[in-house]
Symmetry: C2
Subunit: 244 residues, 2 copies
């Protein structure tokens, strides 16, 4: 067993809950899980703790382990994001993430132009140059990896760790876009220029230009993939009633 046992249990239960095989409101009993999954109590308990932190279950005395609905899931939890992307809620998850990145990346570019360390500005210039090169050659695979690197770099260079942390799921979006064949046969020339302009602007500390060009990229990106979630229902959580 390469990875730890309780991680397997987390994976097993988590993917089933998010995937809908274990519906909301279900009551799991630790004793049953022990037997069904053939693991000991400590493993079950640690797994339940982890799932509880992700908002998938709550465990209360005398009743058992209650499976919660999607409105309680922690939408920033990396496990939850992965499970949702692998489920039939994929569209909803892609939409949420895309709306978030459209909001965040222009600001990230603006901040990067102000505060990015020199090394990151340099690498950004290299990456955007290579993007143009491989993009014009039509090497979509290489282009994808560079694209992911580019956006991850901008997010990191903003010096905002909450932005930087979005790099992984945003990478997943970009991968999904090409895997689903939503990329044009070769990247549009204007898209290449926008990327180039963003890194130029960041290198020159021109925050307004960095934001503007990133906004252009985001607009096009949105148009390319918003067909994926056409008609998907939205999740309305009621806002926290905190009297404090």
């Amino acid at each position: 067993m390469s990875t730890s046992l309780h991680a397997h249990v987390v994976e097993h239960l988590g993917s089933r809950i998010v995937g809908g095989q274990i519906p909301r409101g279900s009551i799991l009993l630790a004793a049953e899980l022990e037997e069904k999954l053939q693991v000991s109590r400590s493993v079950i308990r640690e797994a339940i703790r982890v799932l509880a932190q992700s908002g998938l279950v709550t465990s209360t005395k005398r009743v058992g382990i209650r499976v919660l609905g999607a409105e309680f899931w922690n939408p920033y939890d990396s496990h939850v994001i992965r499970w949702r992307l692998a489920s039939d809620q994929k569209g909803t998850q892609l939409r949420s993430l895309t709306e978030l990145r459209i909001s965040v990346e222009p600001m990230a570019a603006e901040l990067a132009a102000e505060v990015a360390p020199e090394a990151m500005r340099k690498e950004l210039m290299m990456v955007s140059a290579q993007m143009s090169h491989y993009g014009r050659q039509g090497d979509l695979h290489k282009f994808l990896e560079l694209d992911i690197r580019f956006h991850s770099l901008v997010l990191a260079a903003s010096g905002n760790e909450m932005f930087a942390n979005l790099a992984t799921p945003i990478g997943a979006i970009l991968r999904g876009r090409t895997e689903l064949g939503l990329m044009p046969e070769r990247p549009h020339e204007e898209a290449l220029l926008w990327h180039q302009s963003v890194s130029d602007a960041i290198s020159n500390s021109d925050s307004a230009s960095a934001r503007k060009n990133m906004e252009s990229i985001m607009r096009r990106t949105h148009n390319e993939i918003c067909s994926l979630w056409e008609g998907q229902a939205r999740i309305f959580v009621d806002p926290p009633k905190e009297t404090r």
Copy 2:
């Protein structure tokens, strides 16, 4: 003991790690923690699992429980956010959160104008009306609660669960702002009007106006509190090197 034991251990260790009393690179041993905190192995182990998921520690065989640096912490974890706000990194955390909300709330307002359910539009109108009322009376306490409710509602009404999930930490920002005396003696008249305009626009499905007015609110908000993190160092995480 009202709340569970392992939750106390999580609180104890988590707050100390984030607060810096337990420095990065420290090695904790489960056996020592058992004795020091006077709890059993199972409690320690479950707590460590939770802390590991928050990115505060990793536990490896033969070496122990290694305390990780801030660049590994999960910046969206509600515990982490709370602990950071209670530490001397408060400024950094407030900056990150504020930059995030400045990015997100205009988009949330725009989306809310398109998709908000009728009940939420109604409540938004009520809340903004009361905000004007209590704001003009100079009742800052009541105004604060309404303000939090207002922004939580807009985030929820966007139908994007990632946005909605930011309501709690954003509420913390707003509380912090008045507690630290960064609010004017009574809210500016234009701020009241902007809030009113946002809810009007959402009610009328005018997404452009909703965004524009929310942007105005964000601009002012930023000016009011950016003094809090003057000169605070930024955290640069290096972007994930995922070959996949």
